[in-house]
Amino acid sequence: MAIVLENVSKSFGKKKALKNINLSFEKGRIYGLLGPNGSGKSTMLKLMTGLTFPTNGTVTLNGHPVTRKSSEQVAYLTELDMFYDVFTVRETVNYMASQFADFNIEKAKELLQELTLDPTQKVRSLSKGNRGRLKLVTTLSRDTDAILLDEPFSGLDPMVRDSIINSLLKYIDFENQVLIIATHEITEIESLLDEAIAIHYGTVIGQESVETLREEQGLSVLQWFKQISREQGEG
């Protein structure tokens, strides 16, 4: 699996959300799209799922341009709430299974157990943490080439974050999948990443291997991110 963005720009009306982005993502690796709110991270993920299309440039999955059907190959966790309140946890899982041919119901059951979600509980009565967990269950249960997570930790307490990271590490199929996590919470995922990509007002201002950063510059991802953001501000 490879996702490639070539000279991609995206405008919403007069506002330029992304400017001339060139990136590629390979299977077996975990990427962090890092940037503050409004930097264009979510737009970038939506371009990869075929939920929106570039104003200029091309986005390809395994060499084919992204279309509306690309969601068959890409599992996407949105930052928005995506469930029906009247469903139970089990009904939600079954509903997702009915929508996606690649949905692995066995994996979903394991994940529900792993994350201690009660299948009989109504979505409406789930705590925020458990909603976050359920979103992860339905996303990770798909046997897709790519898994895209948009702010998977936002508003969740440290215990929930840990359990999410744990499940990611257990259930990602590293032989076949690429994982891309968009977040502004850098410290949480630092040790998880192969590569960090810094985004600032719609442009990529840096891309580094996390271990190389430490080895060659003695910097954590957060330190690096702050440094290059500051340079942007000055320049």
Partner: protein
Amino acid sequence: MGEDFQASKPIYMQIVDKITSEIVQGKRQPGDKLPSVREMAVQMGVNPNTVQRTYAELERLNIVETRRGQGTFVSDNKDLTEELGRNMQDEIIKSFIQKMEEIGVDRKQIVTLLQQYLGEGQ
């Protein structure tokens, strides 16, 4: 989960140090099997590629050996624990002396101070 890592050193090397220290402390014995890459990644909360590098580095240092189809094991070498222990002691002493010299304590003073601290030479 819950390992904390320093910024100044690659994560894979910090896990190398951790496993080495566990061998020196006897928590891992020669011949013991290490967790699989995936299990170790989950335990440490790190990327499996990082653990892969840790194991490769440990293997290069002859601290572990990979047996085909069986996994990764602490080298079955009786001298290993002693040898790693000595290396670690050397490193700790070296960094201690370096820090003392940085703040202007000479080697003779270091010895005196150490003896005093340990309650000897009084």
